[in-house]
Symmetry: C2
């Protein structure tokens, strides 16, 4: 998916919501457990009920790997259920030496046909560069995350800048706003302003409105740019809003609620 | 596998060789392509021929993910072929927020029964902590890698120490020499001495003797400790030493050659 297509979808749907399919066999409604592939049944119901309110689905690969080859198949089958005009993100946080990252890029972009993948930058720019050689595909690089451990390294100073700033500046040398986004868990004004200083035009993937304690108002106020430039993800708050037979309907209500709030900012 | 078992195996085999199963369908001998699972046939032959010369097999998950659910199955089937007294390492470089890392730990340790997994530390200590809650399992954390991009962040100074030093010191708060190793691609004396200053007793996983240009002499001179404390990995130089029908025999010759050199240091 191109940047223009993504922006177009945001304008049409009046939403910049990404829904995280962190589908856990232990958390889905028990009546689905009799289905051949309960994970797929759950995802299908969630996608059908929520696709009008979101512009991206983020698939957390850990939850599928935990089910082995069958889980990997559920992931592939889930991808096929997502309409083409919705961005598909593999939340996989890959990053390795060159020839290995090439294999990962091949796996996620060619073989599985994801539009985007999240990347871990620790090993430096050559460890994620292979992901930026694909047309109309996106690398979404960890910059500043919202977990407590972000203080350990991300928020440490190298010279007069934070590590996360250095990551943004360095990664902007191998990608641009057409194929590069950043994961930004920040909701603090000063952090968002700093990130926008280095990545004015880029989309930011902001996880964790809700479960991880993010605040939509602040993110929009300090993070939005002229092309919106934000994808706000919510996972558990939407997909596990109900654990009963009505789970998809309740998920739709939650997604609609967030989309409505987003509409008010556009 | 416990630390004592690993040291015992090194002493018995007089080898601290890890063999990397970076098995690429495009690089294996063509006569295997008619088999039901060529990747598995290749790995079986390599393992049978080399298992007496190594104490670990490192499975690079990227190469298996690139084949989808079938590749994931090949990885599981390969694991079953590895003798119990040989350490199995998932070279997967995972690391994510807490509940996701818990899922990864469950996938690799409980479900697949790997002994060890490589971890990417960018998001901080809580992003890898769940991997250190398993008995007799290992987290192998990226510290200083051998690729060019290690200069981007790993070798940057935070205060008066390098980022890779900070990673080692910080990670030593959540694991110890019984469940924590570090990936160290360094062969320079000053780097190895610095790493041993912070991780005197830990095992170091050193990738890339050969293909990535490492030098065994220097690594041993400056990296070995009283319990050996080194796992030296070689992948392509061993498994792709021949592309003919004799590939497994030639791989064994290459592995034996390295093991013999290792023996001379013990």
């Amino acid at each position: 998916m191109t940047r223009q297509e993504l922006i177009h979808q945001i304008r049409i749907k009046k939403s910049f919501l990404s829904i995280g399919l962190d589908t856990d066999i232990k958390k889905i409604p028990t009546h689905l457990l009799e289905d051949e592939d309960p994970i797929l049944s759950f995802n299908k119901a969630i996608i059908d009920a929520t696709k009008q309110y979101c512009v991206a689905y983020k698939i957390n690969t850990a939850f599928y790997e935990a089910n082995g080859p069958k889980g990997w198949q559920s992931m592939l089958d889930t991808l096929k259920l997502i309409p083409e005009n919705i961005l598909t993100i593999a939340d996989a946080k890959r990053g390795d030496i060159g020839n290995t990252s090439e294999m990962y890029a091949h796996a996620f972009f060619d073989q599985m046909n994801f539009d985007a993948i999240t990347l871990a930058p620790y090993m430096g720019r050559d460890s994620i560069a292979p992901f930026f050689k694909f047309k109309n595909k996106w690398g979404i690089v960890l910059a500043l995350t919202s977990n407590k451990g972000s203080a350990d390294y991300e928020q440490q100073k190298i010279g007069d800048e934070f590590l996360f700033e250095k990551v943004i500046k360095t990664t902007c040398k191998i990608g641009d706003e057409n194929n590069l986004m950043f994961v930004v868990g920040a909701t603090k004004a000063e952090d968002l302003l700093l990130i926008r200083k280095h990545a004015a035009k880029h989309f930011l993937l902001v996880p964790g409105i809700g479960a991880q304690g993010g605040n939509l108002d602040e993110v929009v106020q300090f993070g939005m740019n002229e092309d919106v430039g934000l994808l706000i993800n919510s996972s558990r708050n939407i997909i596990y809003a109900s654990n009963e037979k009505d789970f998809a309907d309740v998920a739709a209500i939650e997604a609609k609620k967030i989309a409505k709030q987003m509409n008010s900012y556009l």
